[in-house]
Amino acid sequence: MDWAIEATGLGKRFGAVSALNGLDLRVRAGEVHGLLGPNGAGKTTTIRVLLGLLRADAGRSRLLGGDPWRDAVALHRRLAYVPGDVHLWPTLTGGEVIDLMGRLRGRTVTARRDELVERFALDPSKHCRTYSKGNRQKVALVAALAADVELYLLDEPSSGLDPLMAGVFVDVVRERRDAGSAVLLSSHVLAEVEALADRLTIVRSGRAVQTGTFDELRHLTRTRVEVRTERPLEDVATWPGVHGVSRDRDAVRFGVDAERLGGVLRQLTDHGVRSLTSAPPTLEEMFFSHYGEVAADAVPAGAR
C-alpha cells in the first residue's frame, strides 16, 4: 500500500494544554480523506505537524515518504496547503498572492489558475484588505488547487464560501482526486465530507476515535427506527441494543446498535408491526454519536 500520509502516535503539548494524544492517521495515495472533529480536537495541529510548522513531541510521521520536519522544503514542492484561517498581505492583490505562492512551489499550471479564478468568480485585481472572508478563502483555494501536486492539505477549506462556491469546491476537489492526487480534508461541514471523502478519520481530544470508510463506520453506529405496532411496546427500552426511546402518539422511535438489529426486529415482529421505517446513520448522526452529549457515553467499545 502506498501511503501519502502515515502518522502514528502523534503527541503535541502547548504548555499545560495537550493538543495531540497519540493520534494515528493514514491517508492512501489518491484518496480523499476526511478529518472530522469538533473545534479543538487537534485537526489543525495535526496538519501543522505534517507540514513541519510544529514539531511533534511524540510519535512518527511520514509524508509522501519523507520526514515532515527534516525534508520540509523538498516535500512542500509536492504538496499544496489551504490554512484554516487565511491571512494575506493587505497591500497585495489576490492575483499577486496566487502567483507568488505558485512560484514559491514551482508547479503552478497557468491555464488552471485562470480557469479556477473564473470558476470561483474571484476578482484577482482587488487588494487583499478589501476581500471578504469568503474571498480570502478563494484566494487560498485557487493558489493551492492551481498547483499540480501529489497531496493537498485543506484545513476547513470551504468555511466562508456560499453554497454555490462550496459546490464548485467539491467539483474541483473531485477533479484533483480523479487526476491521482491525495487530499486530506479537515472539515466540520458534514455534507461536504460525505460527498467527497473516500475514507474518514474522526478525531476527539487529540486522538483518532474512528477511522475507515463510511460503510465500515456505519456498522459501528446505530440505525434509527420508527415503528407502529398492534400491541404496545412497553418494555422496548430494556431490550438489548436499544437506545434513546421516544414516543409520539402511537409511534415509537429509537436507535439500535448495528449488531443487535436482527434480534430487535424479531422481537418487533412478535408485537405485530403495522408500519416500520429505518434509516442508516447519516454522517451527522455518526458525528453526534461521538460528540453529542446525549450519546457521549455510547462510543462503541474498542473504537480506537
Binding site: 501543522r48 491571512h87 492575483g95 512560484r103 514551482g106
Partner: protein, 537 residues
C-alpha cells in the same frame, strides 16, 4: 441643515461610548502634569538652582529638542520637562478618538446602522469633533489646575493647560481630516501619527537650531509644528495667547475641510480611492525577498525621502552659519570631541541620524515576526520558504534599508552644506561615509531584535524597543548629560561608532560591531528554525 440631522442622539452615543476612555486620558494627563511639576518644585529649591538648571537646558541643543526653557522660573522648568510629553499624549487621545468614532465605525459596520436612521451625513463627524473639543478644553484645564496645586503660579499653569489642550484640539482636526481621506481607520491613524512625528521633528529641529539671547529664539521650523506653537506660549514667561490662537485656527480649518469632504465622499470609502491592482504578479515577485519589498516599498521610500529631507534641513542650518552660545558649543564639543563648530555639528547630526536608522532597522527586523504571529507566514512556510531564509531576508532588508537611509541623510547634509560646488562634492564623500560608519552600530542594536524574534517571537517587541531605548539613552547624543560612568555608556553600540566626520573612521570598532550584529542575527535565525512556528490559534 440636513447634514446635522440626528446630531443630538449621535452626540449622546459618542459621549456614552467614549466617556470612560476620555475620563481616563484626562486623569492621566492631570496626574502626569502634577507629577512633573512636583518633581520640578522639589528639585529647584532656590532661585539660583532654578536659574542654573534652566540655563543648562537652554544651553544644550539635545535637551531643548525635548522642550526649551524660557526664563528661569520653576514653572518654566516644569513646562520644559513636561509639555512635550503631555501635548503628545493629548494629541494621540484626540486624534484616535476622532478616528475611532468616525472611520472605525464605518470599517466595523456600526456607522451603517446609525447612518440608515434619520441621521445627517456629517452628524457623526460633528458629534465626534464636539466631544473632542470639550475634552481638549476640560483636560487642559484639569492639567493646569493640577500643576497649580503643586505650588506654581496659577496663571502660568492655566496657560500651560491651554497649550496642551490646543495641541489636542489641532490633532483632533488632523484626525478628522485623515478619517475622511483614508479608506481605513488604520490608515487614518497612520496619517495622524505621521503628522505628529513631523510636528515633533519640526519643533525639535527648530529648538535645536535656535539661538539663545535673552530667551531662546527658536529657528523657523518651530512654526510649522503645533507642538512648537504650544511651546511658544511661554506659559511662565510672557504668556503669549496668540500661539494658542494658531492651534485653534488650525482646528477650525481642518474641521471645515473634513466637513466638506464628508459631504462629498461615499460611505465606507476614502477620498484616496481603493485602486485596482495587478491581476497577475509582476515577474520579479517570486520569493520572500521580493515579497517583503513589494509589501514595504512605499514605507521604505517615505523613510528615504524623510531622511534626505532631514539631512537637507540640518545641512542648511549648518550652512547658514552656526552662532552658538557657550553652553551649546560645549555640548557639541563634548558629543563630537572637537571644538571646530561645523564638524562638531555635523557629527552630532550624523549620530542622531543613526538613532533614526536604528528605529527603521528594528521595525524591519520585527516585521518578520509580526507576519508570523498574525499568521501570514504560515502559507509561506507551508510552501518552500524556510524559517532560516525568512529571517535572512528580513536581516538583509534591515541592513540595506538602514544603509540607504543613512546614506540619504549624509547626502542631504552634504548637498545643503553650502560652500563652493567643489567643496560640496568633496563633502558628499566625507558625509555619506561618516553616516555609513554608523551602520554597524545600528545593525548591532537591530541584532538584539533579530535574536528576540527568533527566541521569543511573542515578546520580541517588548525586548527590542527597550534595548534600543537604552542604547539611545547611553549613546553620545544623550549619554553625556546623564552622569553615568563611561564604561556603562560604552555598552551602547552608538558609543562605539566612530564620531565622524569630526574624528576619522577606523576599521576596528566597525568590524567588532558588525561581528556582534552578525552573531546576534545568525543566533536568532537558527533559534527561529528550530522551534515551533508561533501561529494564531
Amino acid at each position: 441643515m440636513s447634514g446635522l440631522a440626528g446630531l443630538g442622539p449621535t452626540l449622546r452615543l459618542v459621549v456614552r461610548r467614549e466617556r470612560v476612555a476620555l475620563a481616563a486620558w484626562s486623569a492621566v494627563l492631570a496626574g502626569m502634569a502634577a507629577m512633573f511639576t512636583r518633581m520640578s518644585v522639589q528639585a529647584l529649591t532656590t532661585p539660583e538652582e532654578a536659574q542654573r538648571q534652566s540655563e543648562f537646558i537652554s544651553g544644550s541643543p539635545a535637551l531643548r529638542m525635548f522642550g526649551p526653557t524660557f526664563g528661569t522660573s520653576v514653572g518654566g522648568y516644569a513646562v520644559a520637562r513636561a509639555l512635550l510629553t503631555l501635548a503628545v499624549l493629548a494629541a494621540l487621545a484626540c486624534a484616535f478618538t476622532v478616528v475611532r468614532t468616525t472611520r472605525r465605525d464605518e470599517d466595523d459596520g456600526r456607522a451603517e446602522l446609525v447612518g440608515s436612521a434619520a441621521v445627517g451625513r456629517q452628524a457623526r463627524l460633528a458629534a465626534s469633533l464636539i466631544v473632542v473639543a470639550v475634552f481638549a478644553g476640560l483636560a487642559g484645564a484639569l492639567a493646569g489646575l493640577a500643576m497649580a496645586a503643586q505650588g506654581v503660579p496659577l496663571a502660568g499653569a492655566l496657560f500651560t493647560g491651554a497649550a496642551i489642550g490646543s495641541v489636542g484640539l489641532t490633532f483632533g482636526g488632523i484626525g478628522a481630516l485623515a478619517a475622511q481621506l483614508a479608506s481605513t481607520a488604520r490608515g487614518a491613524n497612520g496619517m495622524a501619527g505621521v503628522a505628529l512625528g513631523g510636528a515633533f521633528l519640526a519643533a525639535g529641529a527648530g529648538n535645536m537650531a535656535g539661538d539663545v539671547r535673552a530667551v531662546l529664539v527658536a529657528a523657523w521650523p518651530v512654526w510649522l509644528s503645533p507642538l512648537g506653537w504650544a511651546q511658544q506660549v511661554r506659559a511662565f514667561e510672557d504668556q503669549r495667547a496668540w500661539p494658542l490662537a494658531l492651534g485653534i485656527a488650525a482646528f477650525v480649518a481642518l474641521a471645515a475641510l473634513a466637513w466638506v469632504v464628508a459631504a462629498r465622499r461615499d460611505f465606507g470609502l476614502g477620498v484616496l480611492p481603493e485602486r485596482r491592482g495587478a491581476r497577475v504578479a509582476p515577474r520579479w515577485l517570486a520569493g520572500p525577498f521580493s515579497l517583503v519589498w513589494r509589501v514595504e516599498h512605499t514605507e521604505a521610500v517615505a523613510w528615504l525621502l524623510a531622511m534626505l529631507g532631514c539631512g537637507l534641513a540640518f545641512g542648511s542650518l549648518a550652512a547658514g552659519g552656526l552662532e552658538m552660545e557657550a553652553g551649546a558649543a560645549d555640548w557639541y564639543a563634548q558629543v563630537s570631541g572637537t571644538t571646530d563648530v561645523v564638524p562638531a555639528f555635523r557629527t552630532a547630526m550624523v549620530q542622531m541620524a543613526a538613532l533614526a536608522a536604528a528605529v527603521h532597522a528594528v521595525v524591519t527586523v520585527l516585521r518578520g515576526r509580526s507576519d508570523e504571529v498574525t499568521g501570514r507566514t504560515e502559507a509561506l512556510h507551508a510552501a518552500t520558504v524556510t524559517r532560516l531564509r525568512w529571517a535572512a531576508v528580513h536581516g538583509a532588508h534591515a541592513a540595506i534599508g538602514a544603509a540607504a537611509v543613512l546614506a540619504a541623510f549624509g547626502l542631504g547634509l552634504a548637498l545643503a552644506g553650502g560652500g563652493a560646488a567643489a567643496d560640496r562634492s568633496a563633502a558628499v564623500g566625507t558625509l555619506v561615509g561618516a553616516a555609513l560608519a554608523q551602520l554597524p552600530a545600528v545593525l548591532a542594536v537591530a541584532g538584539v531584535g533579530a535574536l528576540a524574534a527568533g527566541l521569543l517571537p511573542r515578546w520580541a517587541p517588548v525586548v527590542a524597543w527597550p534595548v534600543l531605548g537604552l542604547c539611545v539613552l547611553l549613546g553620545p547624543t544623550f549619554g553625556a548629560g546623564l552622569g553615568v560612568p563611561d564604561w556603562v555608556r560604552d555598552l551602547s553600540p552608538f558609543s562605539q561608532a566612530p564620531a565622524a566626520p569630526a574624528a576619522p573612521v577606523v576599521a576596528g570598532p566597525l568590524v567588532g560591531l558588525a561581528a556582534v550584529a552578525l552573531v546576534l542575527a545568525v543566533a536568532g535565525a537558527l533559534a527561529a528554525s528550530r522551534r515551533d512556528l508561533r501561529l494564531p490559534a
